[in-house]
């Protein structure tokens, strides 16, 4: 049986124009691998929205990265001040991976 290792998955829901900033913040704490997943719409305290590529202002993506416990914590610390001001949603969960050294 293949051995798996525990890692942390961090998912950040962020407005498309702000993705480069999140990527830069992540790189600042050593997190350089990520995948972007699209969204179609949603609702929250700020009301309902649906994907709007024309203005670009209402288009959100999920910045997803799998990394070590330490780096995940560092990324969370670095992003916490922005959660409110930039309207981010941040989720952390535990996943198992093969080839642990990759993450």
């Amino acid at each position: 049986m293949t051995t798996t290792t525990l890692r942390r998955k961090v998912e950040i829901l962020v407005d498309s124009p702000l993705v480069p900033r999140i990527a830069a913040t992540a790189a600042g704490v050593g997190v350089t691998a990520y995948t972007l997943v699209p969204t179609l719409g949603g609702a929250g305290h700020g009301g309902e929205w649906s994907d709007d590529q024309v203005t670009g202002a209402d288009s959100k993506v999920i910045f997803t990265t799998v990394t070590t416990e330490e780096k995940a914590a560092a990324l969370t610390d670095a992003l916490t001040p922005l959660l409110e001001s930039h309207g981010l949603l941040l989720l952390i969960s535990t996943v198992e991976v093969v080839r642990a050294q990759k993450f």
Partner: protein, 328 residues
């Protein structure tokens, strides 16, 4: 004539109304976002090309320089006026007032394009260089709006910390906003290829323009009405300003054009530019530069209030003003 409500019966406007009615009635009609974005790229390329080709024919003139100067002046001053109104009458905090002001100082490509269609159909086409004026007017208001939003620097939150951004990178990102690059680039291509080069691509960029615009305005009607329904932070005072500001700005635009000696068509077009509020270049830039400002607010005002007002009542109004103020 074209200033009459009959302009409301053009297919372009009717498709906008159809979209708005469908969204208000909660129909599930939607245009896929990728397609809407594709059409908006097409419209910007087409308008840029047409403007460039016309300038290639007419050559650079004093008129053109004066129009450019008038446009720049408006895009620097209008946000200041808007800011004052939004703070006082609108009761907005400084951050959001600056953000909204940037939108009203900048311009809406689709409002302009629709206005040009109405003007051309009505026999008073604006000069081709007005497209260059449009491109020039997209950006300065962003800078002014940001300065206003950030105030005397005591507003530490705005732009500071990990979310901060140097003025250099801001300028870079604004100047290189996709829509600005496409519009300006197509204008230059139009200049280079001139009439003969344009002939081979005219079936797509000229003959097809009005029909494609119909489909885009159908989507704009849907988007504007849905946004109005979903708007949470839009107060009555702000909605009123969303109608008052285009009227004031449009009148100032036409007035300045009259002083500058532009033709009636070009004066109406400058009025439309002044009256219109950006909903493509500015929101994208501000989401980066002022992430703390509320996009729900500035898009509701520019897209859900001002844009529909301009498309339906504003355009004929600015044309009337131009006919009245500018000696033909």
């Amino acid at each position: 004539m074209i200033a009459s409500p009959a302009a409301l019966l053009s297919p372009v406007i009717l498709f906008f109304l159809l979209g708005a009615v469908a969204a208000f009635a909660r129909s599930d009609l939607t245009v896929p976002e990728a397609v809407a974005k594709g059409i908006s790229l097409y419209l910007m390329a087409a308008i840029g090309l047409k403007g460039g080709v016309e300038v290639a024919v007419s050559g650079f003139t004093t008129d053109m320089a004066l129009a450019a100067l008038a446009g720049l002046t408006l895009s620097v001053l209008l946000p200041v006026l808007a800011f004052a109104l939004l703070r006082s009458f609108g009761r907005l905090d400084r951050l959001n007032a600056g953000a909204v002001a940037a939108h009203y100082g900048s311009v809406s490509v689709v409002t302009f394009v629709t206005g040009v269609e109405v003007l051309t159909t009505g026999g008073m086409p604006p000069a081709g260089y007005m497209v260059a004026v449009l491109a020039l007017m997209e950006l300065p208001a962003i800078i002014v709006g940001l300065l206003l939003a950030r105030g005397r620097g005591d507003d530490a939150g705005a732009g500071a910390g990990a979310g901060g951004q140097s003025t250099g990178s801001l300028l870079h990102e604004t100047l290189l906003n996709g829509s600005v690059v496409l519009l300006a680039g197509s204008f230059v291509i139009g200049l280079v290829i001139g009439k003969p080069g344009f002939a081979t691509i005219a079936p797509v960029f000229e003959t097809g323009f009005r029909g494609v615009l119909c489909l885009f305005l159908l989507d704009m009607g849907l988007v504007a009405a849905r946004r109005l329904r979903q708007a949470r932070s839009l107060t009555l005072r702000l909605a009123l300003l969303g109608i008052a500001m285009p009227v004031i700005n449009g009148a100032l635009g036409v007035g300045l054009a009259a002083l500058t000696g532009l033709s009636p068509g070009s004066a109406a077009a400058l009025g439309m530019l002044a009256a219109s509020a950006s909903y493509i270049a500015v929101p994208a830039a501000l989401r980066l530069a002022l992430p703390q400002a509320d996009p729900g607010l500035y898009l509701a005002m520019s897209l859900a209030v001002t844009f529909p007002f301009n498309i339906t009542f504003g355009l004929p109004l600015y044309i009337s003003l131009a006919v009245w103020m500018v000696p033909a």
